[in-house]
C-alpha cells in the first residue's frame, strides 16, 4: 500500500520528529518503497504460529529485594542539558 504525505506527517508527530517539507516528500517516497517490500510477508502462511518476540523466551527474572549502590543524583543529572540542583528542567507544561 502507498503512504500519503498526511500519513507520514502524522507518524512524524507520533515519533516526535519534526520533518521539513522536503523531508516529508523524501520520507513518503522511501517509506512507501520499504513498506511495499515488507508487505511480501503477507504471502507467508502463519496460521497457528506463535509470535516470537525474543530469542530468549523467558519471563519474570527476579532478583533479591536487597539494597544496592546506584548512581548518585549528581551523576545521574550530570549529562542533563538543563537542570537545577535536583531536577531536570523542561519548558512549562501547564499554562501560567
Amino acid at each position: 500500500m502507498s503512504l500519503t504525505r498526511a500519513d507520514v506527517e502524522k507518524v512524524s508527530l507520533l515519533g516526535r520528529l519534526l520533518l521539513s517539507d522536503a523531508e516529508l516528500d523524501t520520507m513518503t517516497t522511501q517509506l512507501t518503497r520499504v513498506v511495499g517490500y515488507v508487505e511480501q510477508l503477507g504471502e507467508v502462511n502463519t496460521d497457528g504460529i506463535e509470535p516470537m518476540a525474543h530469542a530468549v523466551e523467558m519471563h519474570n527474572v527476579f532478583r533479591d529485594d536487597a539494597l544496592a549502590a546506584s548512581l548518585t543524583r549528581d551523576a545521574a543529572l550530570a549529562n542533563a542539558p538543563k537542570r537545577d540542583s535536583e531536577c531536570y528542567r523542561v519548558p512549562a507544561v501547564l499554562g501560567e
Binding site: 520528529l17 507467508v44 502463519t46 509470535p51 530469542a55 538543563k82
Partner: protein
C-alpha cells in the same frame, strides 16, 4: 612480520614472556594510527596518553611478578556504542555529541579487569543503523583494502582499524550483521555470539531482542580470547544467559571429527556475486578435504529475513530511541528560539482565525522533543524511527509487527530443522564485496538488501562467524560465514580455527 601485523594471541605470548612490553605495543599501534588514520578514519575518539599510562602500569605489575589479567596489556578498540565511564560515547550521533557515561558497560569493565589497554572508540553507523559506516554523523570510514570503498557497517571502524594494523583486537556489535559484514569487507575474523552470551548492560540499545556484542580479530584464536574475556552472565542484563563460559582458547586446536556442514540452497541464488560464490565453494571443498561432509538443505523462510528484520528492528528502535528527548542527556534544541518560533506561529494562526491548526499546534514540551530529535538525528535514524512508529501504530500492528514476529519463529524453525542434520550452516557472509562510498546512500532499500545472509541469524538468536576465504580479482576480501546452534561457540571457533590452519587468507594485510 611487523608487530602490528601479528595476531593478538601471538603478541600476548610475547608479552607474557616479556619479549615485548605493553608500552612498546601501544607505541607501535599509535604510530600506525598517526600514519594511517587520517586516511582510514576508524576512530572517533583516541587517548594515546591514557593508553600509554595504562600500559606502563601493566608493564610495572608484570615486572613485579604480580597477577595479570587475561589480556595482559593488549590494546583493544571499542565501538563507540558501549558506555565508557568518563569517556565520551556518541554512537556516531550528534544527539550524543557531549554524552559522557557515568558508568562502564559490563563488557568494558571486564576488559579493564582483564588488563586490556583501551586504545580508542571506533566509528560506526549512527546508533548502529547501517551497513557502510556512511551514516556516522562525524565522518566516513574507508576500507583499508581500497579507500574508495566502504568498510561495511555498522562496526566499520572496528573492522577497519584491525585491517589497517591500528589495533590488534576490536569490540563490535551485531544486530543484523554488523560484526560479520564489516569483517568480511575488511578481511578480518568477526564473531556474533548467541543472543544472551554477552551482557548488553551499558550497550546503547538499537533493537534489544537482536543486539549482541562480539569480538573481531585477525584469527579465530583472537576472537576466542576476546570472547572468553567478555562473555558470561550478568545480573544487570536479565537476558544474559546463566551458563558457564567455556575457555574457548583451550580447546581451539582440537580439530572437529565427523564435521557436518549444511549448504543452504537459498544462499546461492540470484544476486550472489560469482567471485564470492566461487571462493565460498572452494572453502567448502577445503573443509571436505579436512574430513567434513556437506549436505545441501533448504531454509524456505530465509528469503523473508530482510522483510522480517526491517519490521522488527525499526519497531524496537523507535521505542528504544524515545529516550533521546533533550531532557535527560544529550543534545537539546535552542529552547528560546524554539519558544519564539512557536509563539510566532500561534500569533499567526490566531490572526488568521485558523481554529483547527491552532488546536493542532504542538505544546512547548512536544515541540522541544520534536525539534531536538529533528536536529540531533541523521536521516537513516529518522527513517527507522518513522518506519518503526508506523509498523507499531494503531491499525497496522497486527499486519506488520505481529506478522513479522510469526515469520521470525518460522525462520528460527528452519534453523532448528537444519541443525538436526548438520553442525553448522555455511555460506557467504555477504552477496557482494565492499561497495564504493556513496554507491548506495540514495537507495535505503538497496542498502537493506545487502543484509540478506546475516539478518536471519539475529532473528533466530544464534551465533555465527565470518572468516576470510579469498579475494576478488580486484583484491577485495571475501568472507565465509559459519552459523551454529545456540551457545555452540566453542565448536564454531574450533571449526573456524581448523580452516585457518589449512589456509592463509587471514594472514593477508592491505598495503597502505
Amino acid at each position: 612480520m611487523s608487530l602490528t601485523d601479528r595476531p593478538a594471541t601471538d603478541l600476548l605470548r610475547d608479552l607474557s614472556a616479556r619479549k615485548i612490553s605493553s608500552v612498546e605495543l601501544v607505541k607501535a599501534y599509535a604510530e600506525r594510527i598517526r600514519r594511517f588514520d587520517g586516511q582510514i578514519k576508524a576512530f572517533l575518539h583516541l587517548d594515546i596518553d591514557a593508553a600509554l599510562a595504562k600500559a606502563r602500569e601493566i608493564d610495572a605489575r608484570r615486572a613485579a611478578g604480580q597477577p595479570m589479567g587475561k589480556l595482559g596489556g593488549l590494546p583493544v578498540a571499542i565501538k563507540d556504542v558501549l558506555c565508557t565511564q568518563g569517556i565520551r560515547t556518541t554512537c556516531a550521533s550528534k544527539i550524543l555529541e557531549n554524552f559522557v557515561p557515568p558508568y562502564d558497560a559490563t563488557v568494558v569493565r571486564k576488559l579493564k579487569e582483564a588488563d586490556a589497554v583501551i586504545i580508542g572508540k571506533t566509528n560506526m553507523d549512527e546508533f548502529a543503523m547501517g551497513g557502510s559506516t556512511e551514516n556516522s554523523a562525524y565522518f566516513k570510514t574507508t576500507n583499508p583494502w581500497d579507500t574508495s570503498r566502504v568498510p561495511g557497517g555498522s562496526s566499520g571502524g572496528a573492522a577497519a582499524c584491525l585491517a589497517a594494523g591500528m589495533a590488534p583486537l576490536s569490540i563490535g556489535t551485531d544486530t543484523g550483521g554488523s560484526i560479520r559484514q564489516p569483517a568480511a569487507f575488511c578481511g578480518v575474523t568477526g564473531l556474533k555470539p548467541t543472543y544472551g552470551r554477552v551482557s548488553r548492560y551499558g550497550l546503547v540499545a538499537f533493537a534489544s531482542s537482536l543486539d549482541q556484542i562480539g569480538p573481531l580479530g585477525h584469527t579465530a584464536e583472537d576472537c576466542a580470547l576476546l570472547l572468553e574475556t567478555i562473555a558470561g552472565h550478568d545480573p544487570r542484563d536479565s537476558t544474559s544467559a546463566d551458563l558457564p563460559v567455556p575457555q574457548y582458547t583451550a580447546s581451539l586446536s582440537q580439530p572437529l571429527q565427523g564435521l557436518k556442514l549444511g549448504l543452504v540452497r537459498e544462499h546461492f541464488g540470484p544476486g550472489l556475486d560469482s567471485e564470492i560464490e566461487a571462493a565460498v565453494r572452494e572453502a567448502v571443498k577445503d573443509y571436505q578435504s579436512l574430513g567434513a561432509t556437506v549436505k545441501e538443505l533448504s531454509m524456505p523462510h530465509s528469503k523473508y529475513g530482510i522483510a522480517t528484520y526491517y519490521i522488527i528492528a525499526p519497531s524496537e528502535a523507535s521505542s528504544n530511541l524515545a529516550r533521546y528527548d533533550g531532557v535527560h542527556y544529550g543534545y537539546r534544541t535552542d529552547e528560546k528560539a524554539m519558544l519564539d518560533e512557536l509563539a510566532a506561529k500561534q500569533k499567526q494562526l490566531e490572526s488568521a482565525q485558523d481554529a483547527k491548526k491552532l488546536a493542532q499546534l504542538d505544546t512547548p514540551l512536544i515541540r522541544l522533543y520534536r525539534k531536538t530529535r529533528a536536529e540531533g538525528f541523521g536521516p537513516e535514524v529518522k527513517r527507522r524511527i518513522m518506519l518503526g512508529t508506523y509498523t507499531l501504530s494503531a491499525g497496522y500492528y497486527d499486519a506488520y509487527y505481529l506478522k513479522a514476529l510469526k515469520v521470525r519463529r518460522l525462520i528460527r524453525q528452519d534453523y532448528d530443522k537444519a541443525f538436526e542434520e548438520v553442525d553448522f550452516v555455511v555460506g557467504p557472509t555477504t552477496p557482494s564485496p565492499a561497495f564504493k562510498l556513496g554507491e548506495k546512500t540514495d537507495d535505503p532499500l538497496a542498502m537493506y538488501l545487502e543484509d540478506l545472509y546475516t539478518v536471519t541469524l539475529n532473528l533466530a538468536g544464534l551465533g555465527g562467524i565470518s572468516v576470510p576465504c579469498g579475494f576478488t580479482k580486484s583484491g577485495l576480501p571475501i568472507g565465509l560465514q559459519l552459523q551454529c546452534r545456540p551457545f555452540d561457540e566453542e565448536r564454531l571457533l574450533q571449526a573456524a580455527a581448523m580452516y585457518q590452519r589449512a589456509t592463509d587468507w587471514h594472514t593477508k594485510r592491505p598495503s597502505l
